[in-house]
Amino acid sequence: MLNLARKDLLLLAGFIIAVAAGPVIMTPLGLDYPDILQKFAIFGIFAIGFNILFGLTGYLSFGHAAFLGVGSYTAVWSFKLFSMNPLPAIIFSVILAGLFSALIGFVSLRRSGIYFSILTLAFAQMSYNLAYSVLTPITNGETGLQLEQADPRWLDTAVFGLDYGAALPSSSLFGVSMTGYPGFYFCAALLVICFYISIRIFRSPFGMVLKAVSSNQNRLNYTGINTRPYTLTAFIISGMYAGLAGGLLAVTDPLAGAERMQWTASGEVVLMTILGGTGTLLGPVLGAGIIKGAEAKLSQYNDSILTGFYDFLPETLQHAMVSISGLFVGEGWHLTLGAAFMLVVIFLPGGVMEGVRRIGRLFSKRKRGSGDAASQPAE
């Protein structure tokens, strides 16, 4: 079915159930509100796409936030000019991010290794600076691109005769507003589709060649494969994923700013992918969830909450603990992220997915071990 092997079909089914039940699963963690759930889905898409490039070919891009930004700007322009319907918005986002990544990929992929990474980083910073200054007519510079009452929304007004009245409209899919839970389920449906496409790519001859690129590009050339168009295609696909994610950010909250393209945003998707498990199907989604979840949780804490938490301690100790843990939460949550990332890279280089595999092996070994003991009691 769906041209997937049994084990992948099960994976997809499990994934769909987990995503659909997301609000319930996240309740114990206190992360069951639509805003954060939308973020999980959107950054999950971003990371899945990034993993198609980095996980398969080993080409580490430090500039994918540029495509995220292009996606967001495009979606907002689609809202302004055509329609508040999210479908044309994300279609334009994907197409434009695809074109943009074809351009950047074509140049950057002339180099490999660290030089490739630096080139992508340079391009992304260039895009960020352009969006911030020179391209102000398109990006609205520092303020960011926003909807306005006077926007033409040509398709909505002229063809469908919609009138949004005095209020600023929100994106809506044939009457269903893309805020709150409907917005989450819209993103979730796209996440599932993106995950399915990623499985198909991983299991295809194309995906196998991409894996071979990271293994031994030299051999691949002497084997009759022209590696450049393969890596460029992977780059464009991952750029389109990023564009979709950027478009969805604008769908759930119709504004776009240059900071979305900054190198910190590019670095974040690298962290998500490595943290979850580079080159695995599920890892990038998990990594995205962990980082966005930790951000939401940890940045909520402030000194007064911490003081309450350490109430049981004597006062001096309480002060000390509050100021120490204060470093790791609130604004300082990045410190926690950095520390966690270091621990993972050192002890679990395969990310969370390697941890899952190790635990799985431990259990299967124990089971096999007890089976052996039962069948060969003489030893």
């Binding site: 295809s204 001859p205 494969i225």
Partner: protein
């Protein structure tokens, strides 16, 4: 018999060092042509000029009537030239089966094709071809292992399978038994003899005289970048210049 590979006046200089000095070579279709010579004679450099890794300073390399110079390695392979390297070049992170499937895809689907919507498991033709070749080289039992964990001899075998699965017109073998035990060397000779039945034209660079004399139809001797003698294995054995330049030196 027709000439499959025709090398004329090839020169290659590295800095001041003349690695190839006016090399002329004709490889007959269907033959096994050995190139022997002391270390540093320029044998690997010569092969590099055939597969697009190096460009000769002067000279021509014609393969089946078309020049191999100025085109890219993947184009040369697609034209029908496959190469086994002196140090095995395989996809160490992939399984043996995948290692052999990739060259098969290169053969069936060409140098580039976005077959991202196909399932590898659905390509029965490729699976069967890859399995058959792994049987032939005796690695079928290990097909799901990661190839990085193989012994050096097995890596060579795998690389050979990766070339054979493409049914090349010309197979270049750079010291296929270097670093192998006597037993492994004999296995490799047997394997190469078995492949010989397919009629693939081969160029073998070899140090081991035993290998050369049991496989080759014709031998060229390279010394300091120049072909100093050429002939049947028996003629080469008796050639005084060869004795002096090569056999005498390394086999006292």
């Amino acid at each position: 018999m027709a000439t499959l590979l025709d090398v004329q006046g090839v020169n290659k200089t590295f800095g001041g060092l003349k690695a190839l000095d006016d090399v002329n070579l004709k490889v007959e279709e269907g033959s096994v042509h050995a190139i022997i010579g002391p270390n540093g004679a320029g044998k690997s450099t010569l092969l590099n000029c055939f597969v697009g890794r190096l460009k000769p300073d002067t000279g021509t390399v014609m393969f089946a009537g078309k020049s191999l110079l100025g085109i890219l390695p993947h184009q040369i392979n697609q034209a029908g030239v496959a190469r086994v390297f002196q140090t095995p070049e395989i996809f160490a992170d992939l399984t043996l089966h995948e290692n052999v499937m990739i060259p098969t895809f290169a053969k069936t689907d060409g140098a580039f094709r976005i077959n991202a919507w196909q399932a590898v498991s659905g390509r029965k033709d490729v699976h069967e071809r890859a399995d058959a070749i792994l049987q032939d080289v005796g690695l079928y039992e290990k097909r799901n292992d990661h190839s990085g964990s193989l012994s050096r001899g097995d890596k060579r075998r795998l690389e050979l399978a990766m070339c054979l699965v493409q049914d090349p017109k010309l197979l270049l073998l750079d010291e296929p038994t270097a670093g192998m035990s006597r037993a492994d060397t004999n296995n490799t000779i047997d394997l190469l003899k078995k492949i010989g039945e397919r009629g693939i034209t081969k160029i073998i660079i070899e140090h081991d005289m035993h290998v050369v004399f049991s496989l080759a139809d014709k031998v060229s001797v390279l010394a300091r970048g120049h072909v100093i003698a050429e002939g049947s294995p028996d003629e080469i054995k008796g050639d005084a210049r060869v004795q002096e330049a090569y056999l005498g030196g390394t086999h006292p």
